[in-house]
Symmetry: C2
Subunit: 227 residues, 2 copies
Amino acid sequence: MTASLIPPIVDFRAELPAAQSRAPQSGRRRRQTDSDRTPTQNKVLAALPGKDFESVVAGCEPVTLAFGDILYEPGDTMRHVYFPCDSLVSLLTLVDNHLALEVGMVGREGMVGIPLALGVDASPFRALVQGAGTALRMKAATFRRELRHSLPLQNAINRYTYGLMSQISQTAACNRFHMVPERLARWLLMTRDRVGSNHFQLTQEFLSHMLGVRRVGVTKAAGQLQK
Amino acid sequence: MTASLIPPIVDFRAELPAAQSRAPQSGRRRRQTDSDRTPTQNKVLAALPGKDFESVVAGCEPVTLAFGDILYEPGDTMRHVYFPCDSLVSLLTLVDNHLALEVGMVGREGMVGIPLALGVDASPFRALVQGAGTALRMKAATFRRELRHSLPLQNAINRYTYGLMSQISQTAACNRFHMVPERLARWLLMTRDRVGSNHFQLTQEFLSHMLGVRRVGVTKAAGQLQK
DNA sequence: CGGGCTCTGTACGTTTGCGCACATACACCG
DNA sequence: CGGTGTATGTGCGCAAACGTACAGAGCCCG
């Protein structure tokens, strides 16, 4: 086995199997058929009517997220929310203070910092930037004010909260019932859907932390997926 | 091994080990030090100020939930929300349409039907009555109206939604990293906390479905917990 | 060019849990 | 009283994943 399925820069265009683990958030369009008023690919924001959209975006500042950045640790007070534009953020829960498991992924279809919308400051997760890119960032206080004043924003966030809960639950069940190769495939598909590209950086070490398995397990699973 | 840890009617008073898997929702009082205005032990409702409380409770009807009742199936349109008083409801996600895994438990500290508060009708879970008892039930339309009119209710529900998300995530991580005996112990502790009693009905078969393991696995784990 | 570093592939023995089959215990009922 | 059904305990072989250790591949840099 010389050519790896998952080198640091991946192209797995060809060998995507018929996804058996349904990706809960899929079934959406990933193309850049966004509204054209402002350079924002974030779907939550894009769904807002003009007036609310302007107001919310005005309260944001664009930021660049680098691979490996940690936006929150569990227990941290969240000072911002993030609307990913072309970045990708993983939500991890920690157990025993060192083992981590990815429970959710947030791409341009969502927002990082949902608890702030629920009136809670403390993050339950670690939020780790898994795909470098841009995002719109908004201060917590500003966000709360915008949320109070914009019913469409409330609705959009609520909708997304529901989706995130479903995703977390699905992931949990998937982790319990599926084998490592299937989980790996699911992860790759979900990631591709969110970054809209077949190329993204990752290492087996990184993947093993996301899936909660040994690095070696990823190696073998990747081999099996090659078929 | 003659005396089982988990006969149909359980009393595991004595042998609770120092809980290593923290139960996310614990740290609350389970005593019936409720407000005395109306016979409602539900904590979400109990947290409301008098005016809102009266209004919400007025929109509810008391119902009795029997062990095994299914409140929703995944995909069902949710017609009611439930505020458990002394009942206990499990939230299960289904995978491949027959395997089920418990991702959350709702007792008197919460509400069943959170998605309705998020503006979504379809249930992502199966909601299964796991502890018989009473609950206050409210029609979906009524609930939405009450929610619109009561900021305290919104806040309480939001708070609980956060807690439920945390719980689901913790459960997911626990399922991944802990062995069956530890998961069993965690489950027993969480259940006890929610029903406020050391006695509750269950079978190994039932437990195996909650934990997503074989029935025999539960037998062995129970044996090990006996020490 | 030769070290150090990271990432990847392979191997070995052990543990956990699965699938299955079967034996026992107990309750209910005609 | 014997039959049927449900719940529980046990045994055996197997597959998946774990912990650990180590060897090659590629890269950066002095």
